[in-house]
Assembly symmetry: C2
Homo-oligomer: 440 residues x 2
């Protein structure tokens, strides 16, 4: 049988990795897929570099639309990134009846609904395993492996840059800015790291995961996005003393508020018990923990970025498409795990409505009655305390740190309590609040 013809839009890190792995493992892949899978054309801004990268073995073009419009190409792999051009290319590839593979989480988190609708109507597949957690087959696990389950929640370390930074901050007791510079020097963080450290990248991925876990449209605009830039070394240390690690988690959770179903979709630094397996995922590694009603907890761990790990996911999608191209489009695995006409209209909750536990740290004047005032405020707000730690003032200091871990409560109650605490004359400065998930 003829080989499947692939065109790569972009032949940088992931594109180059995809080219290399497809070539190196072509025999292994053909034995699995039943047909060869072959890159026949790539588009790139720098033609010379692209030719060198592909050893002069494939057609190199400057205009990606040339590939998208090429009738000899079966599958387009979009690795350009960004929103506008990528969207135009993907939509035109679909309109031309081509299957698409993309690693572009930003595109799917924002324009996914439109893209999947167009693909559905045209009867082509848009596959995106590489968009979340690099090579880890988490999309496949959620979409196909856990179909028996009502997914209750998932929580993932889905941004390697921030996990690397947090691991280093903890290991070496360094502050955020210092470690960020180190991460940039080592290539773990980009020159402009905003998307990573502000949680945007993780929120793109969490948005995609929430859609396939719960059968809802992608709704990036409603995700709560909070990065690690304000995290202080002292909180990492105090968390450690209390038996917790701080990780940037992408969380999607089914919940009920006032008798109605709701979805929590949020990215923020989170205390998790140090003994959990996922708390021990260090460096640039990724992991996603999924809780289903039948299966209980499952964890998926691996490299979340890098040329060949991401290429591994891109090629898995190419093989899937090759294997399943003959399936009646109505019977293929639906893009968002649920049949397109079966997506649910469940509201994504505003942060004030979410329920979780909290780590609160405040600096207080070391004088009688402080603790009584603080605990009274929490009691009045209906918030109960799970653990408390008061640190002795440093030599010659008259201020002490108090750390409280709360039981589960609603965010709006905590915000109100914090406002009252900060109004106390004995509480100095603002109260630090970090959410805590037990993940049990």
């Amino acid at each position: 049988m003829n080989s499947i013809k692939v065109g790569l839009l972009g032949v940088g890190n992931v594109g180059g990795g995809t080219f290399d792995v497809l070539k190196r493992n072509q025999e292994e892949i053909r034995r699995r897929a039943g047909r060869g899978i072959e890159v026949v054309a790539v588009s790139a801004r720098n033609l010379e570099r692209a030719r060198t990268r592909t050893h002069g073995e494939v057609r190199v073009v400057a205009d990606p639309f040339e590939i998208v419009d090429d009738p000899s190409i079966d599958i387009v792999v979009e690795l350009i990134g960004g929103y506008d051009t990528a969207r135009e290319l993907v939509m035109r590839a679909i309109a031309n009846g081509k299957h698409v593979v993309t690693a572009n989480k930003a595109l799917l988190a924002v324009h996914g609904n439109e893209i999947f609708k167009a693909a559905q109507e045209k009867g082509v597949m848009v596959a995106f395993e590489a968009a979340v957690a690099g090579g880890i087959p988490i999309i496949k696990a959620l979409r196909e492996g856990l179909t028996a389950n009502r997914v209750q929640w998932l929580a993932g370390i889905i941004n390697g840059t921030t996990n690397f930074i947090l691991s280093e901050m903890r290991d070496k007791g360094l502050d955020f800015d210092t470690v960020l510079k180190e991460a940039q020097a080592l290539g773990y963080a980009e020159a402009d790291p905003t998307f990573d450290i502000e949680g945007v990248d993780a929120a793109h991925k969490a948005t995609i995961l929430s859609a396939i876990a719960f059968g809802i449209p992608v709704q990036f605009a409603k995700a709560h996005v909070e990065g690690i830039t304000k995290l202080e070394a002292i909180d990492i240390r105090y968390a450690e003393e209390l038996g917790y690690r701080i990780k940037l988690l992408g969380i999607a959770k089914r919940t009920r508020v006032d008798g109605a179903d709701g979805i929590e979709l949020r990215v923020h630094p989170t205390l998790i018990p140090a003994k959990r397996l996922i708390a021990n995922v260090e460096g640039a590694m990724n992991a996603v923990l999924v809780q289903g009603d039948a299966i209980g907890a499952t964890l998926y761990y691996g490299k979340g970025a890098g040329a060949e790990p991401t290429a591994s996911a891109v090629i898995a999608d190419l093989v899937d498409i090759t294997r399943l191209a003959t399936a009646d489009p109505e019977h293929r695995v639906p893009h968002l795990a649920f049949q397109p006409d079966e997506l649910a209209d469940i509201a994504i909750l505003p942060m004030a409505e979410i329920t979780t536990s909290y780590y609160l740290r405040m600096r207080v004047a070391d004088q009688p009655g402080v603790l009584a005032d603080l605990t009274r405020i929490l009691a009045d707000s209906g918030i109960s305390i799970d653990a408390m730690m008061q640190k002795e003032p440093g030599e010659g200091e008259v201020q002490a740190d108090i750390i409280m871990l709360t039981h589960q409560t609603q965010e709006k109650k905590v915000l109100a309590a914090i406002a009252r605490m900060e109004g106390l004359p004995t509480v100095l400065g603002s109260v630090t609040k970090i959410r805590l998930e037990n993940l049990a």
Copy 2:
């Protein structure tokens, strides 16, 4: 569209769980699969109990062949276990043009080649996610998620009973027999635990994993099978002191011996570095670590047994079949991950030929020259030492324990060295040998 009609052969633990989950999550599953999936008949030896279990909602028959021959049933789920009757039922279901889902690892590890061949010829699917690691979608991950990779090795904690026993032995410092009784009382071990504690169950699963990882036929007869019954509490403690945990691993590894490709397929207690994520998989949980050339290491973790976790895998297979039933059979995901005419003929190596590291413990007379003799034997055999620990003799004793960790070497060299060591008059009794894998 009409719902898919399922017949369950056996409605015990897993069958009951499958019935429950299909019913409880029917709406969620229909939204995913595009069609309802409905149990319409079950077979059971105890009709009354089966009727109670299924609330009188489905047809209950005594003869499983009645279900297999029923033209109204689309998919047969085999949950009887064992070899002979199960094989006959599965083969007849296939002959009748029905798709089959089975959780029966023993059947597939021994008769899989014949079963998959028959299914291929008849154009039906035989799905078996539940056969390995319960609900964890490891079959799907290997067969579809990692298709880009040349799998280099995999190592799994794939028997919950033995992992529970080993966790308890370590936690409480108890010996094997005591913990086995506890495990039986708690329901973690069966009344006849032979298949679990002797490593047979893990070897069935490792055999299936080796086939889909490397594209070879299932060859259970060639697997090395070694359980945990001879493991002593003292070795768990010494391993701990050296920074290792002991786990019963199922290992499948690609290797080269004398210029020829070979496969290692073995189940045995194994020292692994305590800091590895998989070393921290405790109790009855399962986990499989897979090393691919593109993706690096990935880990899959979850419940490896139990009614609903296993049902989760059974139902995932039912949804897969429902979704993909219209695919041209030539284009479906092949049973053993590789196209049936593309299986490779790579020899599974005898244990003497495998390469790994070793933990050796010997009791020696506390006198000069002993260590010199022992290290000379290893040096003569070309085995180098990675770490060594000599324990002081106990109060009033004149014998000391020596523990050595070797670098990678061939099993036959180690066996020869051990034979020489045991011939020394200063070495008392036999040398304990436990294999060690770095999993890096």
